[in-house]
């Protein structure tokens, strides 16, 4: 898992975004190495969407810098080709079918795996020729994820993709995602935001914790858990498994207000 020499998939320094007088993201510095599946956790309004939209090149920061796959997010086909972004609202043309979307993707992307998209949707038994608006929420999310994967991105940015799904649809969605990560054999980095921790624990090996527009934690999950273990229960000396991710997250979200003045804790990744 060590990727010290490689350029990180994402590296931000003091990244800020203000909308008028409100700050959506305050001096956020994170590093996500390539090939990781990172959980972007935080309460509603913590700045998760803002961060993801900046990384996808859809919004511009008002301060700091972001390097995504080695370059600043920008309106340039060379950059856009490598990014797969799926917004929270699962935006699709509701009056068009999945097949229409696959054709649109073929027209708007240099690298496009339409065959993969068709095969995957057939496996999921999602009708290709039905209006996307007539599909269930879970099916629509699967169509959107499949289209995002058909682009063959090197970085996948998913904003609350499972929030609107029922438990079964969630499981299917995350299974599709896990399979895609396994297929890519380390070439695909994923950042997946959520305000729920438990769902992502099985899928992710990296964590970015946002609260109150600030980065509270960033690093390898195992390393963070071990560190928390040592801090929280120094006398126990037990294995890292004793502390759950949820406990770790809650410990740092509770400190939200207090830590707003402190520097964020960045662990691991040797940056």
């Amino acid at each position: 898992m060590s990727t010290a020499i490689e350029t990180p998939a994402i590296e931000t320094r003091e990244l800020s975004k203000r909308y008028g007088r409100t700050s959506a993201l305050t001096r956020g510095s994170i590093v996500v190495p390539q090939g990781r599946v990172s959980a972007l956790i935080g309460p509603n309004g913590a700045g998760k969407t803002t961060l993801l939209r900046i990384l996808a090149g859809l919004a511009r920061p008002t301060g700091g810098t972001a390097a995504v796959l080695g370059g600043a997010p920008r309106q340039d086909p060379a950059f856009l080709a490598d990014i797969g972004f799926l917004a929270q609202e699962i935006p699709l043309y509701r009056r068009m079918s999945a097949a229409d979307h696959i054709t649109i993707g073929a027209h708007l992307n240099r690298r496009w795996d339409g065959a993969l998209a068709r095969t995957r949707l057939a496996e999921l038994r999602i009708p290709l020729d039905q209006r996307v608006g007539a599909l269930s929420g879970g099916q629509r999310a699967q169509v959107a994820l499949t289209l995002t994967l058909a682009k063959r991105p090197r970085l996948l940015l998913l904003d609350e993709p499972v929030a609107a799904l029922d438990p079964l649809a969630r499981r299917h969605f995350l299974a599709t995602l896990t399979a895609a990560v396994a297929d890519a054999a380390g070439r695909l980095t994923v950042v997946l935001s959520s305000h729920l921790v438990t769902e992502l624990e099985r899928v992710c090996d990296h964590l970015v914790l946002l609260a109150g527009s600030r980065v509270q934690l960033c690093g390898d999950i195992d390393t963070l858990l071990a560190g928390h273990q040592a801090l929280a229960r120094p006398e126990s000396g037990g294995p890292a498994g004793d502390v759950t991710l949820e406990e770790l997250v809650l410990a740092h979200m509770g400190a939200d207000e207090a830590s707003a003045v402190k520097h964020p804790t960045t662990v691991g990744e040797g940056s």
Binding site: R53, A56, L58, A59, R60, Q75, D76, P77, L80, A81, I83, G84, F85, L86, A87, E89, P91, L92, Y93, R94, M96, D100, T103, I104, G105, H107, L108, N109, R110, R111, A144, L147, T148, K151
Partner: protein, 326 residues
């Protein structure tokens, strides 16, 4: 990207083509009848212009309002196609899908805007051509296509109006990011700009020609000009409109003495005395007009103004798209 535009607009395009075809069918069927009526009128009158003036209008009723469709088409295009172009995609968040593909926002916008402006040119051109052809006999009989109303429905100006309305819709939708306000802007903005330009600016595209005649006399400028004003002008440059009602208050007191005291029995002899008296006081008759030879230059100038306005609006749209967050 062009395929995407076609996929998004194929239903609207089909409906529009069908409506245009229906309009063309009505215009052609009726136009042929109007032309044959015109032919028999011309034969019957055998070149006498006073005979032509006395004929019943060639077209009557609802059908005579056909050219006004040409006034509605541009604003409809701007409201139904232009306003939602960017605004609807932002509202339904599909921009997050489109702008996450391997295409820059500028290119995405350029292709969409390009095709819609081309559609506006086609619709404006088709409507203008059909109306021009249909109006031919009426133009010949009633004094031409230069007068307001006729000028606005014929020739190439409908192309300018359509392109401008489309650009206004696109720009308003990009600024407002919502379809309904953008539609309202097209409705108010298009009508406002049209009224200002046709009433305030158009008479002055080129300096109008004024010719003088003795008071009470008539000069008819050649061809089918656009008459801007007609009446009498006094020694101090004061003008009054034509007709007795306009002229009477301006008659100098010494000339007015020539009129019968009751002011009612104005015989021709008395009137010509009054007119020569006014001429002696420095009064002249005048007519200010745009000569009929300026019809096409005016069509060109007006179309150019609308195309420039459209270009400015499109430039604004691209500037906003480049600077704003998605």
């Amino acid at each position: 990207m062009s395929w995407v535009v076609w996929r998004q607009y194929r239903v609207s395009a089909t409906i529009t083509v069908a409506l245009l075809a229906a309009f063309a069918a009505v215009i052609v069927v009726d136009g042929v009848q109007v032309a044959s009526r015109w032919h028999s009128v011309v034969v019957a009158c055998a070149g006498s212009s006073s005979c032509l003036q006395q004929q019943a209008p060639l077209v009557n009723g609802v059908i005579s309002d056909l050219p006004y469709i040409s006034l509605i088409v541009p604003i409809a295009l701007g409201m139904l196609w232009g306003a939602p172009l960017v605004a609807h995609e932002i509202e339904s968040r599909t921009t997050d899908f489109a702008w996450s593909q391997t295409i820059t926002r500028t290119r995405w916008l350029a292709v969409k805007v390009g095709w819609l402006l081309l559609a506006a040119v086609a619709c404006g051109g088709a409507i203008g051509a059909l109306t021009t052809w249909w109006s031919g006999p009426a133009n010949a009989m009633t004094g031409g296509a230069f007068a307001p109303g006729q000028f606005d429905t014929q020739g190439i100006v409908p192309i300018g109006y359509a392109v401008f309305a489309m650009a206004l819709g696109i720009a308003a939708g990009t600024v407002a990011r919502r379809t309904l306000p953008a539609i309202a802007v097209v409705f108010g903005g298009f009508i406002g700009v049209r009224l200002v330009i046709s009433n305030v600016l158009r008479p002055h595209y080129l300096t109008a020609v004024t010719t003088y005649s003795p008071v009470g006399g008539t000069v008819t400028p050649p061809g089918q000009p656009w008459i801007l004003a007609q009446g009498a002008v006094g020694p101090t440059g004061v003008t009054v409109r034509s007709g007795w009602g306009g002229l009477y208050p301006a008659i100098p007191a010494s000339c007015r003495a020539l009129l019968p005291t009751a002011g009612t029995g104005k015989s021709g002899a008395v009137l010509s005395q009054v007119f020569s008296c006014m001429a002696a006081h420095g009064w002249r008759g005048f007519v200010t007009y745009q000569p009929s030879s300026r019809y096409w230059p005016f069509q060109g100038i007006e179309t150019g103004i609308y195309l420039l306005l459209a270009a400015a609006l499109i430039a604004l749209t691209f500037a906003l798209m480049g600077r704003r967050d998605a």
